[in-house]
């Protein structure tokens, strides 16, 4: 009896630490007024069809994939359009902007994303994204990669 209670208690304590499924994460992200770099890392892990294991490990996975290399941001850093544009451009291997191919900066990554149909031109790489805006960018990215209109 004591053992059963102990196991139940352990499950209840550990439940918040267990990995979320992607819909729970997306719903929570949609409520956020300001998305963070940590959110972008997590969503890219889901896009790669992997399970998030915590910020440090996830950044390592993305760094190995060439998506977050050279990005030394903390998890709670507010997400700028330029940061996510750079991640998207790397993930999609965008080549629509010569300047991006030469310099690879966030500014030109944003231009490449506009060329690639993932972002709209009426913004700036300095815009801080909300959770809904981050979801929209990732959704458009997966649509373009999947050949959807």
């Amino acid at each position: 009896m004591k053992r059963t209670i102990f196991i139940i208690a352990l499950i209840l304590i550990c439940a918040p630490l267990m990995p979320q499924d992607s819909v729970t994460f997306i719903n929570a992200l949609g409520e956020k007024e300001t998305a963070t770099y940590g959110d972008a890392v997590t969503i890219f892990i889901y896009v790669a069809n992997k399970t998030p294991r915590g910020f440090s490990q996830d950044v390592g996975v993305l760094r190995d994939a060439g998506i977050s290399s050279g990005m030394e941001y903390t998890a709670d850093r507010p997400l700028r359009r330029g940061i996510v544009a750079r991640m998207v451009a790397r993930h999609m291997n965008l080549k629509g902007s010569l300047m991006y191919m030469i310099f690879g900066t966030e500014r030109y990554a944003y231009t490449a994303c506009v060329e690639g149909g993932v972002m709209d031109p009426n913004g700036s790489e300095w815009d801080v994204l909300s959770g809904e805006e981050l979801i929209e960018v990732i959704s458009r990215m997966t649509n373009v990669l999947g050949g959807d209109q």
Binding site: V23, S139, Q149
Partner: protein, 250 residues
């Protein structure tokens, strides 16, 4: 007493004949991580589950669901949240020829995209609306795709039939297959219906005697021609006779 009973039965019959019947909302398929919320808590969505009006459905990354609302089929794409506001079926009263039978379905699209294949019976009035924070599409035809995002706005792509797109200011457009309704947040009017086609058209215009290689390399497209002149005025002022063949596939 008998008169009273007869009156009550008649009143009951009239009430029932006008009563909207809640038709079936059924989950046909689920892929990946999909949840629904009918009260306070999100629960996993499962195949063959029955849903009620007022339910929200949300899909995760690389996840989708297909639900059937009466005879309409709705495909919910990844990272989408919808709310089934209402679905009711009005039954025609035999004694009153003016009262028509039909179905009314209203969905809210908070984010993402859905494809809707609408069942249409000519004898039945079918209303199917998808509302986003900036616009509403009303289907009179059979097949459309709706998407909404805070930057892009509400986009409706018509695949079959006729659709009416209307923004919050009441500015509306009727769309036929191939047309795209696009209402951006903050704009008072929707984008021109043929903007998408026009952009594609301009880059496909070539001057006469253009070789296939040149066409393929787009070396002499109209844009290049304008750009290569010394000034736009010089190009626009010059009078040149030209033959134009126009093929409109509609």
């Amino acid at each position: 007493m008998k008169d009273m009973m007869a009156l009550l039965i008649m009143a009951g019959f009239i009430f029932v004949s006008y009563l909207p019947l809640s038709a079936e909302i059924k989950v046909l398929s689920v892929k990946g991580s999909v949840a629904y919320k009918s009260a306070q808590k999100w629960e996993p969505l499962k195949v063959m589950m029955r849903l009620n009006p007022g339910t929200k459905v949300s899909t995760g990354v690389a996840s989708s669901a297909v639900i059937q609302i009466d005879k309409h089929t709705i495909t919910i794409d990844p990272m989408t949240m919808i709310k089934i506001y209402e679905h009711k079926e009005m039954v025609k009263r035999a004694a009153d020829k003016e009262a028509g039978s039909g179905t009314m379905t209203k969905l809210g699209l908070k984010r993402g995209s859905i494809s809707a294949k609408i069942f249409r019976d000519k004898r039945v009035k079918t209303e199917f609306q998808v509302a986003s924070p900036v616009a509403t599409s009303s289907v009179r035809g059979t097949w459309e795709k709706n998407s909404y995002g805070p930057s892009k706005g509400h986009v409706v792509i018509v695949k079959e039939g006729l659709v009416q797109g209307e923004n919050k200011n009441g500015s509306s457009k009727y769309l036929q297959p191939g047309m795209v309704f696009h209402q951006q947040p903050g704009n008072s009017d929707p984008e021109p219906l043929l903007a998408d086609i026009r952009e594609k058209g301009i880059t496909s215009v070539f001057v006469k005697d253009t070789t296939t290689d040149e066409k393929n390399s787009r070396g002499l497209s109209s844009e290049e021609f304008v750009d290569n002149s010394e000034s736009p005025d010089e190009f626009l002022d010059s009078k040149i006779n030209s033959n134009v063949s126009l093929f409109i596939i509609w």
